[in-house]
Symmetry: D2
Subunit: 99 residues, 4 copies
């Protein structure tokens, strides 16, 4: 099942700066081979269900191994059966309506 996901990892019980942890998750995604895109409040990623959730799992493992005691993660997940729609398609579709 193809999924489009936006996820935001919030390390809890560490300092106020979170960028090193977000960067560590970006490296996990880079190694995964999945298509992904960092934005100001999260990361978009798409692919097969198992691959995407395995990557998020490894992200949690990586951050806990870095010493983060508690992690809160938000995931927005989309699946559809009518057609495959990539992340780029989604943005293009809105932009066309804005012309």
């Amino acid at each position: 099942m193809h999924v489009t996901v936006d996820f935001t990892v919030v390390p809890v019980g560490t300092g106020v700066s979170l960028s090193e942890y977000i960067a560590a998750c970006e490296r996990v995604l880079a190694e995964s081979g999945l298509t992904y895109q960092l934005h100001a409040n999260g990361t978009n990623v798409e692919g097969e269900w198992e691959d995407v959730f395995s990557a998020i799992h490894r992200c949690h493992e990586t951050l806990h191994a870095m010493g983060v005691p508690r992690i809160h993660t938000d995931i927005k997940l989309g699946t559809r059966t009518d057609r495959v729609q990539t992340m780029a398609d989604k943005i293009k579709s809105v932009k066309e309506k804005l012309k």
Copy 2:
């Protein structure tokens, strides 16, 4: 890895009433053997990472099989290494602070 999850399934492209779809997901959770609790805007569930995400996967499969063409799901996910905290513990911990 033990996870505490709150998830909300939003079927898109069907009618305005969603309760039959939420009920279908509740049945998936009942069959999973996981601890779960329906609330007004989602369902809390806890267990091992693989078991919880397998259940949410089956929920998407079930709804698509019922004819839902598109599903948006929100997941709030918590993991921690300092201790295991059940859903009941979390509520109890806040209620004690409110005394």
Copy 3:
């Protein structure tokens, strides 16, 4: 506009225990006069748009005043024009489908 909201406040840059902060938000809700219900991963609240978002605003102000330097909050928000549906209605509607 009537809204049904589920929100989860995640204090960042403090310790790993968050229950005292959640309790402080519950007190803000109690003072607001809104209908609300704590659950394992957040709080459901319903009422007029302005009243609900004012309460969440006061919750942020309260936690920052308690010394929390950074707050991440998730909000799931529902509005509908076909009918008013309370939080109790939503749960009842699913439970009837489960009979």
Copy 4:
């Protein structure tokens, strides 16, 4: 209070294509004068609390006026007292860690 928000509007009870509704919200944001950025699974926006939530409110009003009977919206909200951090700062901060 300065806020950074990521929000995703999910119209329910209409068709499977949502781009015209997302575009309508983008127009509301354009008129608001706020800084915002569309991404594949939502829109990032930053500004004063009242301005940002007024814009999201107008987005709901606009979509209901277009005939959408039910709307589910996800909001990820961040506030901090240690410093002002723009959306551009947040991305830059992670990218520096990735060098």
